[in-house]
Amino acid sequence: MYVILVYDAAPKRGQKVLKFLRKKLNWVQNSVFEGDITEASFMELKKEIEQLIDKKYDSIIYYVFDSKNYFERGIIGLEKSNLDTII
């Protein structure tokens, strides 16, 4: 499945969240990640991220799609990170 995830966390936790998410998803731009992920891996992600954040102050929103085919992705302006597999 394809996931888009945005987070908003206090700076001291934000860094941790960023580093953790880099393992699982592609960084797109500040506090936005997206990528193909298995259901199991995503459940793991949700569980681990709960430990990292403070639920009273931080918020994480995610959008789940069955596959990349069901939405259009566009960029206006700078492309901050290229998601190509050919580097």
């Binding site: 880099r22 393992k23 699982k24 998803l25 990528g35 298995t38 891996s41 597999t85 050919i86 580097i87």
Partner: protein
């Protein structure tokens, strides 16, 4: 699901924050290996320079490179293909091994150099014994080898039939290959089988000047080195396919050095050559037809030397792009009744072979059914 990453840009690959980070070098010019040796006289560099731990210097540079570096999520990597000049350390290799990611390396000219094959985690003594038993028993070996050839020939015929239906008269070649396919049943030894396969393939390649719309001087298969663009494409495509198959073999218990069709122990992991045989017509050959007939690849994507012809970097990029798309093409599998990609199809081929070796189900090589 997991993706293959192909890295052409020169740079440093490293472990950072428990994931893989790629930092391109600022100066991207590559020199031919021979030139490089001439220019840097190794004797003049003091020994200490080799010994300095680069980490400190790199930490200073880090801020400069922060903008260009790219994080690759480890959990999305199937395997990595390196086509450029890269630097990595044991820390990185340890991490790859931990995450079970094979790293395939190609040299300046695009030839396969080797694979960093992480510690095997899927080992099975039982299967290894079965694999060896099937090799030692001449009859059992021949059964498997024949099935590889049948798959290969059948898929070649399918390719020809596809173009035969598109106003190209290939009936002579189709007849020849169909005959060869029939002869496979009567063969008594692996050498004989290789003979049939060899002449069939020669015939198959001869038909290519009818299939390909461009004027090409492709008469016969030549390697070491390839002599013309089509040969260069075949060589490059086949070596890519071998590594893909090897990557798939790594994911299950098979031992890649024991093969049935090719003599084991020569050059590389020969089981990947065996399995690749079945998929060459489906994957490599079709990419080549598409690249040439749609004019995607052009004369300037090749490099001509004295008597060899090789793809240059741009050409390789074009090929790899097409190859990656091909591997992720999905088809509806009849037996499984769901969509699977070509790459998974290769993995299933390994599973089928395992089943055969363990006497669970007879091996039927993959044959195009559409």
């Amino acid at each position: 699901m997991k993706k293959n990453f192909y890295i052409f840009t020169n740079g440093i690959l490293k472990r950072k924050d428990n994931t893989i980070c790629f930092e391109p070098f600022i100066n991207q010019e590559t020199q031919k290996p021979s030139k490089l040796l001439e220019q840097t006289d190794l004797t003049n560099i003091p020994e200490e320079e080799f010994l300095i731990d680069n980490d400190e210097i790199e930490d200073e540079k880090e801020n400069q490179n922060a903008k260009t570096r790219k994080f690759i999520p480890v959990e999305s990597i199937d395997s990595i293909y390196c086509f450029g000049e890269h630097r990595f350390n044991t820390k990185f290799l340890n991490f790859l091994s931990q995450s079970q990611i094979p790293l395939h390396i190609f040299n300046y000219y695009g030839f396969y150099t080797g694979t960093f094959y992480p510690r095997e985690t899927q080992v099975s003594g039982k299967l290894l014994i079965a694999q060896v038993q099937h090799f030692l028993d001449e009859e059992k070996r021949l059964t498997i080898a024949k099935e590889f050839i049948r798959g290969s020939l059948f898929n070649m015929i399918k390719n020809l039939q596809y173009y035969n239906n598109r106003q190209k008269d290939l009936s002579y070649f189709i007849d020849y290959l169909t005959n060869a396919l029939k002869k496979v049943d009567e063969v008594k030894s692996v050498e004989e089988l290789m003979g049939i396969e060899g002449s069939a393939r020669k015939n198959y390649y001869e038909s290519w000047h009818l299939i390909i719309n461009q004027p090409i001087d492709f008469q016969k298969r030549e390697k070491q080195p390839p002599s013309n663009p089509v040969n260069a494409l075949i060589s490059f495509g086949n070596s890519l396919l071998y590594t893909t198959v090897l990557g798939e073999i790594y994911r299950n218990q098979l031992n890649p050095t024991i093969s049935y069709l090719h003599t084991p122990g020569e050059r590389r992991f020969s089981l990947s050559l065996d399995i690749a045989e079945v998929f060459k017509p489906l994957i490599v050959d079709r990419i080549i037809f598409a690249l040439l007939n749609k004019n995607i690849i052009k004369q300037d994507d090749f490099e001509f030397h004295l008597n060899s012809c090789l793809l240059n970097e741009n050409g390789r990029k074009i090929f790899v792009k097409e190859y990656d798309e091909k591997l992720s093409t999905t088809i509806k599998h009849r037996k499984l009744n769901r969509s699977i990609s070509y790459q998974t199809l290769i993995r299933y081929e390994c599973y089928k072979l395992i089943k055969h070796l363990l006497d669970a189900e007879e091996y039927q090589s993959f044959k195009i059914w559409w």
